[in-house]
Amino acid sequence: MIQFILNDQLIQTDAPPGTALLDFIRKDQQLKGAKLVCKEGECGACSVMVGKLEKGTVFYQSMTSCITPLVNAHGKHIVSIEGFNMEELTPVQQAMVDSYGTQCGFCTPGFVVSLSGYLLSNKTLTKEGIIAAIDGNICRCTGYKSIERAAGLVLEKVKKDLPVVDIEGLVKSKFIPAYFMDISSRLKDLEQATPQNGNAIRLGGGTDLYVQKPVEMYESDHVAVYDNSAMNQIEIADGFCSFGAAVTMGDLYRSELFNQALPDSDYIFKLLSSTQIRNMATIGGNLVNASPIGDFTILLLALDSEITLEKNGNGRSVSLKEFYKGYKKMDMQEGEVLTKIKFKIPGAKNHFHFEKVSQRKYFDIASVNLAGNLTIEEDKITTAHMAVGGVGPVPMYLQKTCSFLEGKKLAEDTIDSAIEVLNNEITPISDARGSADYKRLLARQLFIAQFLEVNPGLFNLKKLIGQ
């Protein structure tokens, strides 16, 4: 039986664990505030807050309930728009009204949940932060400016009324209903072990499976690994950063350890989907999905990562750059499970950088993405690890290009010649993400961008770009 708290109600249900959380909320519970729009996590109209007990307090994250498996709600506090409603409008709701931040209204509950949830899940509130909290919410009517103004009003109100942003303060200032005060103790009383429902599919955050086959997932035979604590650890030891396959992009973004391993990586996370999806998408899922364009896969390839595959208690290590064998083909045997990812933490002489261009700058799938980890000593490239996505059947580690670069002087000529090697190494095809010619040009440009970011003053690339 799956147990969780939905708003202020205890839910104990025998509904299929593969049911989409949104369907459960709308159909079983008849709460109609969250809307069904895309069933892909692409619009945020179904956003809910998901609160999880962590060290005695409840940590809230936004998720798109349309592709969240019901089983992932187990042991948690789920907050839909109804869970924020009180007799009077909350300051967040009032700000949306006062700023005319709603037109047709279909996206609005999702925005209100994301904005309210931002206050629940952050101690320090910033303008960039509150906008980032709604980066996974799409509105077709307003053009967003009025919603930005509403977010500004919310921040002003918080600044005025709340010296400390915590549950108690939010309740007192009527940002959230009083029942939130009891949630942590109520969650402690809930059974925490996730009920399992078979063995055929490893189910993480659901961000790909529920997009690819929503109907099959409803009745699926699966092992839910999202809350598997053994697969949720992030560690640093002996100069390596390692983490479990069920760790999400959101976990890494918030992790102090990961930030130590890869400092200044906020710009990267901003390029990876949306806040909601990052909170759901596991790194293991990203890797075994084997998409030639997986952002985190490209990033981990450039970090020359190693993965652990386990079967019946036995594990083996595989270098990620050896893992992909063909389109959606991996060095993975029947019954093997990806459990762990590990990479060497870049040192002072390493330059790690990630590039991505997509049709829409943020919250989109890349046309081409590229990551590089270059060791530069006295103007020389001593080691190079680079990977590029969207230009071949697999997420591609640039073996030849890297070999060419190693030992070469960091200079325009080197890059010019390396581009030729790169050109021979990639095999882009034309598809919905762009023509082959475009992807070839874009790969070259991102390759150049990588060096510009390494050291923009070191040399002049104007000639390379024809200026």
């Binding site: 209204g105 980066d135 077709r140």
Partner: protein
């Protein structure tokens, strides 16, 4: 009118729907409680763009527990052909399929998952035929959906001979998916006597009623259509909501059960039409002073597989082919081309944006060739008071030059341009671009017959008021505006007025909520109804207080007042009720003056025009090819806005949608006619980071047109066209990097086109 509701102080902004929206309490179609026994419909649609249906096997689907019925065209009780202008679109395919997404069969099942599984089990064997996806190919094969259209003024052949500069070229604009967040859908409930009540997510309740009646073979009075509100429409639910309503109606009619169908997003994207893509050619001629003397253009509209609203969209393209400019000699031709794509349909702007894009392209082309800024040519040719449009209407209260001048002054255009130029001198890896987009958009349905509306007003005996109109609320704020009109007419608070659902039994024979004219038409009909009741109250007051015929009486501040005599609103209502005076009224309005002769393509088709000017600046990353918009600064002619905050929202939202159309929104069909951008993972609309960092909108205080409701001009469609400035601002930034860029004039300006343009 006796009262004077146009006073500015009464025009207070408010959005009646906002408190419910922000609480998630607003009830949309899919939020209605479902009746026990409701069946769920789902379409099995063509996976091939053109071909003969050889065989259909439904055995496995029918064997699935929970499947109640599978409906084919044989089961349709009335006519199988639907369509808003010409009924040439089979509701369910008969012998052939004409586009991917064309419905063939309808499954009825006990729940949605069963319906989904059943559809997947149906086998349809189709013998493929040759397909056409390009409008030019269709034109060459004479595959036209309607008669070609032709507008002409002056003599272009003579004029070109006298022109110093003549340029010819091609321009293309892509389609656009509506992405109304609420998908299409309908819910039919049988009444027991054979009649049906249909809840539909539609902009056109009457269109749904008419279509359903024909499909069922019953009279219109057997079909009641009710719309509470819709979660976005943008034109996509003007004509194309009728198919889904017809499907549930047939299902309900045959089974005597309630039947519901809410399209999944993927179905909606595959099965419904979009903004028409256009391919065009143009020829522009200028004299030595850069005055445009002649303009010719041929427009090839990609209409899709059936007529839908394509001819009307095509006509508006010609109305707006010279945008905001005076051109003395015009000769334009337009063709609606039949292709194997879903029938394309209305979308905010209704062909106008596609026309304007070509004119702006021609000017840009000429400016580039002449080595001047396009703004020089634009400014020299702006419309002026008394100028004649090529279709014969005279520009009145023309604000084209005023909005341009005010934008240039208020936003210091010279400084903005200098900042862009300075930036470009200093930066090699990124460039800025600036473009100005003036707009002129005609308000009225171009089909004169449609410019009418009705409203029903009940004053209840306790003083509360209920109003019904033909307007459908879809986010544009028409509910708030209707409530304002009634409150202003009666001099009461808006809280006392309730807007009812849009229902064909209360307000019949309505025009769809479209053409930006809904508030004007329905608001004026509502004024007419309120005035009738107002007159009865004035007469009652005269009798009660023994006043003369010409005594001044006013309904104001919840009271009726005549000199020293005063009664509260509730007292006069109560008194009227006691005296058996009719407290209800039906109002009617039809736009005066307008007329248009389709044979000569001349007349006075528009009640008035809306003007504005937008300055757009962007920064292009010349390494990566992506871009962002620094600012869009607008001066807009609102007339005398009755609800500034709502109108402002229309400008900001329309702008973002226009920018989306011109930049990232790309419909990709493969050679088989399959939509590759058939989900929201692959079809991108603007997110919060894609919209301009700064949007400034200045209200140009103008007198406002008499034919606009409370002199508050229509605001729904015009701002979309400001988005065209986004295209040209990027184009100009690319030219700053690569002056020789061989970039074709093809919208949308995707990041791919930008990068290719930068490095050609």
């Amino acid at each position: 009118m006796t009262s004077n509701p146009t006073k500015k102080k009464n025009k207070k902004s408010f959005n009646i729907d906002a408190p419910l929206h922000v609480s998630g309490k607003t009830q949309y179609l899919d939020d209605m409680p479902e009746l026990a026994g409701t069946l769920f419909a789902k379409a099995c649609y063509a996976k091939v763009a053109h071909g003969y249906i050889k065989d259909i096997d439904t055995t496995a689907a029918l064997a699935l527990p929970g499947v109640v019925k599978i409906i084919s065209h044989f089961d349709i009780p009335g006519e199988n052909e639907i369509g808003g202008i010409i009924q040439d679109e089979p509701l369910l395919a008969e012998v052939e399929v004409h586009f991917i997404g064309m419905p063939i069969l309808i499954v009825l099942a006990k729940d949605e998952i069963t319906a989904h599984k059943a559809v997947d089990l149906i086998q349809v064997d189709i013998q493929e035929k040759e397909i056409i996806t390009d409008p030019i190919v269709a034109f060459e094969k004479n595959e036209l959906l309607s008669q070609p259209l032709h507008f002409q003024s002056g003599n272009t052949a003579d004029a070109f001979e006298k022109c110093k500069y003549v340029y010819e070229g091609k321009a293309e604009s892509g389609g656009q998916e509506h992405v109304y967040l609420e998908p299409q859908g309908a819910y039919a409930i049988p009444n027991g006597d054979g009649s049906l009540k249909i809840y539909s997510s539609t902009q056109g309740p009457t269109a749904v009623q008419r279509t359903v009646a024909k499909v069922l073979g019953v009279s219109m009075n057997q079909v009641e259509v009710d719309v509470n509100r819709i979660g976005g429409g943008f034109g996509g639910k003007e004509d194309q909501a009728s198919a889904w309503a017809s499907i549930v109606a047939v299902g309900s009619y045959l089974t005597k059960k309630p039947v519901k169908y809410i399209l999944e997003r993927g179905e909606d994207l595959q099965m419904t039409g979009k903004r028409h893509p256009y391919k065009n050619t143009y020829k522009i001629g200028l004299d030595a002073e850069y005055k445009i003397q002649a303009f010719e253009a041929d427009f090839y509209q990609n209409g899709g597989a059936a007529t839908d609203l394509s001819p009307a969209v095509l006509q508006r393209t010609l109305f707006h082919a010279t945008n905001s400019y005076f051109v003395p000699n015009v000769n334009t031709h337009a063709y609606s081309c039949r292709t194997n794509l879903p029938p394309n349909t209305a979308f905010r702007g209704f062909g106008g944006p596609q026309g304007m894009f070509v004119m702006e392209t021609a000017i840009h082309h000429a400016a580039r060739a002449l080595g001047v800024s396009p703004t020089v040519i634009q400014e020299k040719n702006l419309l002026f008071e008394g100028a004649e449009f090529c279709y014969g209407q005279i520009a009145k209260e023309c604000e084209a030059q005023n909005t341009w001048k005010e934008a240039a002054r208020k936003y210091d255009l010279a400084r903005m341009q200098k900042e862009v130029d300075d930036y470009n001198l200093k930066n090699s890896y990124s460039k800025k671009g600036l473009a100005i987009m003036p707009i002129c958009f005609g308000i009225s349905f171009t089909n004169t017959q449609m410019n009418n509306a009705r409203a029903l007003v009940h004053v209840y005996q306790d003083g509360s008021v209920g109003i019904s109109t033909g307007a459908v609320e879809m986010g544009q704020g028409v509910s708030s505006k209707m409530i304002q009109v009634a409150a202003l007419c009666f001099g009461i608070d808006t809280e006392q007025v309730k807007l009812e659902t849009t229902n064909t039994t209360r307000v019949a024979n309505t025009s769809p909520t479209a053409a930006s004219a809904t508030a004007d038409l329905n608001g004026k009909a509502l004024q007419d109804a309120c005035d009738q009741i107002q007159k009865r109250f004035y007469e009652l007051a005269r009798q009660t207080w023994s006043l003369s015929e010409d005594a001044a009486i006013q309904l104001t501040q919840n009271s009726i007042v005549a000199g020293d005599n005063k009664m509260s609103w509730n007292e006069i209502v109560s008194l009227a009720f006691q005296k058996r005076i009719n407290l209800s009224a039906k109002g009617h309005y039809s736009t005066p003056i307008i007329h248009f002769d389709t044979k000569t393509s001349k007349g006075h088709p528009f009640a008035y025009h809306v003007y504005g000017t937008a300055i757009t600046t962007c920064t292009v990353d010349c390494i990566r090819g992506n871009y962002e918009f620094d600012a869009v600064k607008i001066v807009h002619d609102f007339g005398s806005s009755m609800n500034r905050a709502v109108d402002l929202g229309q400008i900001e939202g329309g702008l973002a949608q226009g920018i989306g159309w011109m930049t990232m929104e790309e419909l990709i069909y493969n050679e088989k006619g399959q939509l590759k951008s058939g989900n929201l993972a692959n079809y991108k609309i603007p997110d919060i980071y894609s919209v301009p960092k700064e949007v400034e909108i200045h209200y140009l205080d103008t007198k406002g047109a008499d034919l606009a409701i409370l002199k508050s001009k229509a605001v729904g469609e015009p701002p979309l066209m400001y988005g065209i400035g986004a295209y040209f601002s990027i184009f100009n930034a690319i030219l700053a990097f690569n002056p020789k860029a061989k970039l074709p004039y093809e919208a949308p300006m995707t990041v791919e086109k930008v990068l290719m343009g930068l490095y050609q």
